[in-house]
């Protein structure tokens, strides 16, 4: 079995799977259950100054697909609504009972040096392994000058990170919001402030649905709704992109990354690690299925590594970074064509209608006298867009096959048709 231990910001972890700061890490009871289930660490639900916040009733909204699978949920919950000392006492207790597991203390405060430093010191004294700055919460707390209202201003990211670095001598994680135009500005600011690691992404701002009877956004609170933080498998592509941008940016590539965003299973985890993540944080998947999902995350990741011959996570960490490039670095001479395996085709016609109506009219449709329906790719018209292979309901029935054209690697900046080619 592969070695799944990892180190992030100097903190050793028995596996890369931590629970993110959220309802599942709200108190002793949940955290102990998570550790019993096999989670290596938790980022305790964000702590603020006393008096604690008061939360709304009706906190989550959902985005289903037609099969009622949850694509994503959003929430309007605030930070921990329990007194600070209750949380700190429980952190001390868990630390004592579970010495091999990691606890990171998440915190937020208004943009005030004393507030940040005093709270960071209190949390550090409870024995946490590190502190995570919640600069991402996009609902409620931002209206009080915290969360994403700080995370959307690079100077404030740098400032708060520095304050916490100055106050405590344990690792500092700066957690970033995706609700910005360029994640690199935020990541560079965190690094400038001295962060040991960055955690991303926090939730994406959203109105998840509108109740057409109430004519109000969901979750609906006494007839009204507000925007909330979107999470779950739907946000994974956004998170992958932001992690990749940081991992391949020369200014930020050496900072540790605690990746968050729609991680539901071992494959998602492996993808984030391949893009450079040092550790992983999970929330929504656990909220949907319970803590037991970590079993398959561990076993699946281990089996994948065994199959590929990776002995440690470092053996494949970041291997996909070098292949993640700007569009201008892609090969314009690459050509791929759809090939339909007629033996496994079930004749549904989805490829034909998708191509005919919305793409390049490159899949013909013939009906034989006996009713047999045949769908054929017209190579000259196929641009290799992948749409047919994506919508085909039969796994591996439509394969995209690269054409061996023996042409050289040619980027757009080098392309003869690029009129800007010779312009400096």
């Amino acid at each position: 079995m592969a070695d799944l231990t990892c180190t992030i910001a100097g903190i050793k972890s028995i596996n890369p799977f931590w629970l993110a700061s959220a309802p599942p890490t709200d108190k002793y009871f949940n955290v102990v259950r998570a550790f019993k289930a096999g989670w290596a660490g938790v980022v305790w639900k964000t702590l603020g100054e006393d008096p604690p916040v008061i939360n709304m009733s009706s906190r989550y909204g959902v985005h289903f697909n037609s099969a009622r699978d949850v694509i994503g949920i959003n929430n309007i919950e605030l930070i921990s609504d329990r007194p600070l000392e209750v949380n700190l006492q429980e952190i001390r207790q868990v630390r004592e009972e579970w010495p091999d597991r990691v606890i990171i203390g998440s915190m937020m405060a208004p943009i005030d040096e004393c507030a940040w430093k005093e709270l960071a010191i209190k949390i550090a004294e409870a024995g946490v392994h590190g502190i995570e700055l919640n600069l991402g919460c996009p609902h409620g707390m931002c209206e009080r000058g915290m969360g994403s209202s700080i995370g959307q201003v690079p100077e404030m990211i740098e400032q708060t990170t520095r304050w916490v670095r100055e106050a405590v001598d344990i690792p500092v994680f700066t957690k970033l919001t995706p609700n910005i135009t360029n994640i690199l500005w935020a990541a560079e600011a965190a690094k400038a402030g001295g962060a040991h690691a960055i955690s991303l992404i926090n939730t994406v701002n959203s109105v998840i649905s509108v109740d057409l009877d109430a004519m109000a956004p969901t979750p609906t609170i006494d007839g009204k709704g507000s925007h909330g933080g979107y999470c779950g498998t739907a946000v994974k592509p956004i998170a992958l992109h932001m992690v990749a941008e940081i991992a391949r940016n020369p200014e930020t590539r050496d900072i540790d990354i605690s990746a968050i965003g729609g991680i539901e299973n071992w494959r998602d985890a492996a993808e984030f690690i391949s893009l450079g993540a040092n550790g992983l944080q999970v929330c929504t998947a656990a909220m949907l299925y319970g803590f037991r999902i970590v079993d398959d995350m561990i076993a699946g990741l281990s089996n994948f590594m065994d199959e590929k011959g990776y002995k440690t996570l470092d053996d494949f960490r970041g291997l996909a970074i070098k292949n993640t490039v700007d569009w201008n670095e892609l090969n314009m001479n690459f050509d791929t064509k759809a090939v339909i395996n007629q033996d496994s085709c079930i004749e549904c016609g989805r490829c034909h209608i998708a191509c005919e109506d919305t793409s390049h009219q490159a899949i013909t449709f013939d009906v034989a006298a006996d009713g047999k329906r045949t769908f054929t790719v017209v190579d000259e018209d196929c641009v290799g867009c992948n749409l047919c292979a994506i919508i085909c309901p039969v796994p591996d029935c439509i394969e995209m096959q690269p054409v061996k054209n023996n042409l050289p690697y040619l980027t757009w900046p080098e392309h003869p048709k690029n009129v800007m080619k010779d312009v400096d």
């Binding site: 099969a67 009622r68 079930i346 004749e347 549904c348």
Partner: protein
């Protein structure tokens, strides 16, 4: 338990029960969760094979997609605009040889989408929830059409013709509409008086009047005294056109001595009696019942007889299982219900004096391409013989129209040899003993007649 006690015990159960209260439904309907889960299997095929396989060409992928999006009323509308008896067809269609057989998932996942049950989910929803009829009539044409027979073909015709703006008078021999939906389908397929509810729904379009107890040349209570009697000649004078959907009122005989003995009945009459009686304990029911025939009517009669408590029910068919008119699903259902099935056998002697007591069967085989007796015989005890060996045109009043093989000949426009008289359903040569085909005939005949009426 001996037979006498057996019967007595069952009669206690059957007392005061009618077909609606006694028979459990063959298929439980989907609830919302089941419907959504099943709908999710549908691939939403383009130009889907299931549409081609449906005699009424219901746009099946679209209605299933509509169920998925929560537009169940729209799904029902998609079904009903092609097949106004979509509710009955959802219950009675042999989907295993129609839409579901064509489903592309048969090839891959091995299990087709349960189209019939999804169709029922949608149509039941509309019938339960809709406050008004889902279709509207075109401007009145001023034309009035006579329809003979209020079965699936006649009702489907009447509905479509009414939508097209014509007024309809239906002449129905019995005292209820619905035809075989009401009288002939197995009770466990049409639970909860569905046939009658569907007729009420269909008539909601307006412009259709039904005169019960009236049939060609046997008019018992003619509504209109200007009709000297209900003959095609008189009807032609009074109406702009006529549609005949009389079904097959006659039944075939075995052609054996003793067929008039008591204990011998047509399976179709047996089903009618059990569906219409108020008290199933008063129904004639043998203890050694033999049903002769291989179609769905034979299976329906045999299974219902068994469910009513008859201890021994056998089905005898002169050919093999592959040649049976009943689908493989129906044959399997009969076996599951304890019916013993005897293949390659034909009756040659009916035993008994006043009542039937036994039947001698001869084994059969295909010899030189023809079905012949092998000379080997066996005897089965029998106190009730139900014949289900096919039906034929009753004929009364239709003598002037061209027929072939005992059924009405029609053109591709559904016209009989008399241009003013159209026909469809089981009574025409192309009829298939399928509700869904009768519905399609009625619909297409109405469209064809509408075009014809514009020039005549």
């Amino acid at each position: 338990m001996n037979h006498k006690n057996h019967r007595a015990a069952y009669n206690k159960i059957l007392a005061k029960q009618n077909a609606n209260s006694f028979f459990d439904e063959l298929h439980s309907p989907f609830n919302k969760a089941m419907a959504l889960k099943e709908a999710d299997h549908c691939l939403y095929c383009y130009d889907a094979p299931c549409i081609q396989a449906c005699p009424t060409s219901i746009d099946i992928p679209t209605f299933i997609h509509q169920i998925k999006t929560g537009n169940v009323m729209g799904a029902a509308h998609t079904i009903l605009k092609e097949n106004i008896m979509g509710g009955t067809c959802a219950r009675a269609c042999p989907t295993e040889v129609l839409c579901e057989q064509a489903c592309v998932l048969n090839d891959d996942a091995g299990k087709p989408v349960e189209i019939g049950l999804l169709q029922r989910f949608a149509t039941d929803h509309l019938m339960a929830k809709s406050v008004s009829h889902p279709f509207r009539r075109a401007a009145r044409t001023g034309r009035t059409i006579a329809v003979i027979g209020a079965g699936p073909a006649g009702l489907s015709f009447a509905h479509r013709a009414a939508v097209l703006g014509h007024d309809i008078h239906i002449y129905e021999a019995r005292d209820k509409a619905g035809g075989l939906n009401e009288y002939g389908l197995a009770a466990y397929k049409m639970a909860d008086d569905f046939a009658a509810r569907e007729v009420d729904f269909l008539l909601g379009i307006g412009g259709i009047e039904i005169f019960y107890g009236t049939s060609l040349e046997q008019d018992l209570s003619l509504p209109d005294l200007s009709l000297a009697n209900l003959s095609l000649n008189n009807l032609q004078d009074k109406y702009d056109a006529i549609f005949i959907g009389v079904g097959l009122g006659g039944t075939n005989d075995l052609g054996l001595d003793g067929e008039a003995m008591s204990g011998i009945a047509d399976a179709i009459d047996f089903i009618e009696n059990l569906r219409q009686t108020d008290d199933l304990s008063r129904l004639d029911l043998g203890e050694n019942i033999i049903v002769i025939g291989g179609g769905n009517t034979a299976i329906d009669a045999a299974i219902q007889a068994k469910k009513l408590g008859s201890p021994n029910v056998a089905l005898v068919y002169r050919r093999g299982e592959d040649e049976m008119g009943a689908t493989a699903f129906e044959v399997e259902l009969a076996r599951k219900n304890g019916i013993s099935i005897h293949l390659w056998s034909k009756p040659i002697i009916l035993h008994g004096k006043n009542s039937i007591t036994a039947i001698t069967f001869e084994h059969t085989a295909i010899k030189d391409g023809k079905l012949t007796g092998t000379g080997e015989a066996y005897i089965l005890d029998c106190d009730m013989l139900l014949k289900a060996i096919g039906q034929k045109l009753a004929g009364t009043g239709l003598q002037d129209l061209a027929t072939k093989d005992g059924k009405l000949v029609i053109s591709e426009n559904y016209q009989t040899s008399n241009k003013k008289i159209f026909a469809g359903g089981d009574c025409v040569l192309s009829g298939e003993d399928l509700t869904v085909q009768a519905v399609e005939d009625g619909k297409q005949a109405a469209i064809a007649m509408d075009i014809w009426l514009r020039d005549n």
